[in-house]
Symmetry: C3
Subunit: 139 residues, 3 copies
């Protein structure tokens, strides 16, 4: 029985950004010597997402444009009465979700051919933490 937890810190240079973090998930899986189980990947901040989709920059651009249409920045949100200006980031993060379970089989991530794990940042320019917990059966 294996359970190993790591924390990844990401500071994006811009407010909005999508980043492929699959190699980090692979690294944690290997470091834990996990044979079968999963890696939970969960952002610890409420203005960012973890999601699985295609590693394709055109699609990443489409995703950001689409999110801006469904949950636009700069509107008159009540959350902004607290002094914050990031209500759109709280909403965008819920559309994509904040965590995924990456299955591990025979010691490797058990992903389909185009599945990649992504971090979606909607209020960046400061350090954000991601939890990675490898959980399951060892070799």
């Amino acid at each position: 029985m294996i359970s190993r937890t790591e924390y990844l810190t990401i500071t994006t240079p811009t407010r909005y950004e999508i980043r492929d973090i699959t190699t980090e998930v692979e690294r944690v899986c290997r470091a834990a010597q996990l044979q079968d189980g999963f890696v939970l990947v969960s952002t610890m901040h409420i203005t960012s997402s973890i999601f699985v989709n295609d590693h394709e920059s055109g699609l990443w651009s489409d995703i950001m444009t689409w999110l801006e249409g469904l949950a636009p920045a700069g509107k008159d949100y009540r959350h902004h009465l607290t002094g914050e200006d990031n209500a759109d980031a709280h909403l965008k993060r819920m559309l994509l979700g904040h965590q995924v379970l990456v299955p591990v089989t025979n010691g490797a991530l058990d992903l389909g051919p185009w599945e990649r794990v992504h971090y979606g940042e909607f209020d960046g320019r400061r350090p954000k933490r991601i939890l990675l917990k490898a959980f399951g059966v060892g070799a």
Copy 2:
């Protein structure tokens, strides 16, 4: 190896409501004497959500307004031909999701500073059940 399942029943006085249930998740984690693993929190009804976001009443109001814009009540849904009137609740619940995995490390919920577990009700005024399953390694 620990696996302990509890059921929480919530009856909201109004049709739409957001409620912070983090202390319930903490209680189940402690009762299970879980040292490392996670608590699965999953609503057992298809017109409500479980999600992680900020405990801030202005944001909760923003979320409800936003959901109403994206999945409005009172439209001419086909689901209503069955006699139901809650198709919007089925859709709203999918935007926020119906379950989360709360990681547990060193015997405590491993959440970021602002992460709180919420129940989102979109068709309340009757008892609804939430499953909480603590799963992992004991002390």
Copy 3:
């Protein structure tokens, strides 16, 4: 400690389709002789979804109409510069999510009265794989 992984292949005759796959999840749970834990159900393709909702054809129709409104096909997506024409499918799949954890208690799926596990296809007419991993404690 049990961990058993199966792969289900679905080829839908149409591009868009919703299908109830709960009996497949039950089958894998039984085959694994799982007593307590969960079954992870996760689509391995980035243009389809796994979600829990009502088995009701009117609602399924509402879901497809609603998704088309929020993430329409045929728009001028950047992803289509790669030669693909399915950017809408990538977006729709994120609205419903791509995986669920089905809890198992006392040897059976621990679902609420109306909860059913569904596969949502948004770019069908070719074989797609779904991973089902039963994980937990045996009888």
